[in-house]
């Protein structure tokens, strides 16, 4: 079982490594969107510091959605998805593997870029650390929930826009707790409560999302 999971993850990472252009798009999108905000709002340091956590988090949500459209689409097109669904393991395991791979490919780079973007917004060191920590707990939830959306919209015309409509409302709690944790550090009220709520959301998503993704895949493929 574990070997199947690891095989799914490895396969996706290998495929992503071969198509680096696709992969870099989402990362650059993340950088560009956050850099546009100071241009639109003005370079006032105090203002930038207050909006910084929210901007980085919203950009992370959007960057994540950008790459979700391809989560199952490529495998669906070349027929390998049907083969994977026929494997003698639970389809939820496949969905879990796909979500983990998506997080490794798209989530971890966000964690590495985020501190640099935080510095652009003048965030102090402790807030930067909390930003990375909140993204580390929050982005797996984005990949897990996003997997449901990707499975539901598989092969539909306009799937890319549709997925944002379906999934963004579900991302609201992650955004609130994630950006709230950084805000809490900035205002001195502490981040622990936000981070533990974010952790609870992650546990729930881990327990529920793979099963629903698996059901959605079966609905979309059959």
């Amino acid at each position: 079982m574990l070997r199947f999971l690891i095989a799914v993850i490895r396969r996706d990472i290998l495929l992503a490594a071969r198509r680096r252009g696709d992969w870099l798009t989402a990362q650059f999108f993340f950088i560009m969107v956050t850099s546009l905000f100071p241009l639109g709002i003005g370079p006032e340091p105090a203002m930038l510091r207050t909006i910084g956590p929210g901007v980085v988090w919203v950009a992370a949500l959007l960057a994540c959605l950008l790459s979700l459209g391809r989560l199952y689409a490529d495998d669906h097109r070349d027929g390998s998805l049907e083969q994977l669904l026929l494997a003698p393991y639970s389809n939820a395991l496949l969905a879990l593997g796909k979500a983990i791979a998506h997080w490794i490919i798209n989530g971890i780079p966000l964690l590495l870029i985020a501190p640099v973007l935080g510095i652009q917004f003048g965030l102090p060191a402790d807030a930067l650390a909390v930003l990375v920590l909140s993204l580390a707990i929050g982005t797996p939830v984005l990949s897990l929930l996003g997997g449901i959306g990707a499975a539901l919209t598989l092969g539909l015309r306009g799937g890319g826009v549709l997925i944002t409509l379906l999934i963004l409302p579900l991302y609201v709690p992650v955004l609130i707790f994630g950006a709230g944790a950084v805000d809490g550090t900035l205002s001195g009220t502490g981040a622990e409560a936000h981070l533990s709520l974010l952790g609870a959301v992650l546990v729930m998503a881990l327990l529920v999302a793979p099963w629903i993704s698996a059901l959605a895949l079966r609905v979309s493929v059959e």
Binding site: L156, L165, P169, I176, I212, V219
Partner: protein, 244 residues
């Protein structure tokens, strides 16, 4: 009594057709009574003047917006568990009305907020979560509209609906939490003033009217959906011949 008989489209279609006028009439009568209470029985509020009368539609609309989503999830769950086509049709038929009530709740909330809070829109926990609920309805309807195959549309919509209903309490909690951190307690729309008794009655009657209206409208929509899907069958041909 055999409940399964009513789940068959051939029985449901004429039955629903006969029920619709009754529910519509009940809705109209209850709405008339509710409007009478809200404008002629309920006295002026000493704090909010006549402006508070908006709550006689705002609160029922907000209740309906949440109830309908939950009822949809109920039908979706039944559909997924027992594979009954009619349940999916019911869930689908309820969605536009749910979205309509959510919109009405937001609109009346804004019109209430302007004179009371001095702003059309306040990022209050209730208004914000209603807005997100509207997004959930829109997502559900967009997914249904994008899928041509009715079997897939039914199931995909039901799954999304269930994910949404798990999320609604989490969203509500998170928005409330965010709200208390950012601006402290705000004035609540449902804060019960001294004349609570008549007010509660007014809201209840209006909510019942909204229920009857929702049932009537959903039945009509479900009939049309079923006729469309079953057009190849004997009974659908007969219905089409009758209806000019």
């Amino acid at each position: 009594m055999n409940l399964y008989r009513y789940a068959s489209p051939a029985t449901f279609h004429p039955l629903a057709g006969r029920l619709v006028p009754w529910f519509a009439a009940l809705a109209a009568a209850l709405a008339a009574a509710g409007l009478y209470i809200s404008f002629f029985v309920a006295p002026t509020d000493f704090q909010q003047g006549e402006g508070y009368r908006i709550i006689f539609i705002h609160v029922p609309a907000a209740w309906m917006s949440m109830f309908i989503y939950i009822v949809m999830a109920f039908w979706s769950a039944i559909g997924l568990a027992w594979n009954t086509r009619l349940s999916f049709v019911m869930a689908r038929a309820l969605a536009p009305t749910g979205a309509m009530f959510t919109f009405v709740a937001l609109w009346t909330g804004a019109l209430w907020g302007k004179p009371m809070w001095g702003a059309w829109w306040v990022w209050d926990a209730r208004l914000t979560s209603s807005l997100i609920l509207l997004f959930l309805y829109v997502g559900y309807m967009a997914l249904q509209a994008a899928i041509d195959d009715p079997r897939r549309a039914d199931r995909a919509g039901a799954l999304l609906n269930l994910v949404g209903v798990i999320n609604v309490p989490i969203i509500y909690f998170s928005v409330k939490w965010w709200n208390t951190l950012h601006q402290g307690a705000s004035v609540s729309l449902t804060r019960a003033p001294s004349m609570a008794q008549t007010m509660l009655w007014g809201m209840l009657v209006m909510a019942l009217a909204a229920w009857m209206y929702t049932i009537a409208v959903a039945l009509v929509r479900a009939r049309t959906l079923i006729l469309e899907r079953e057009r190849q069958t004997e009974w659908a041909r007969a219905v089409l011949k009758e209806e000019a």
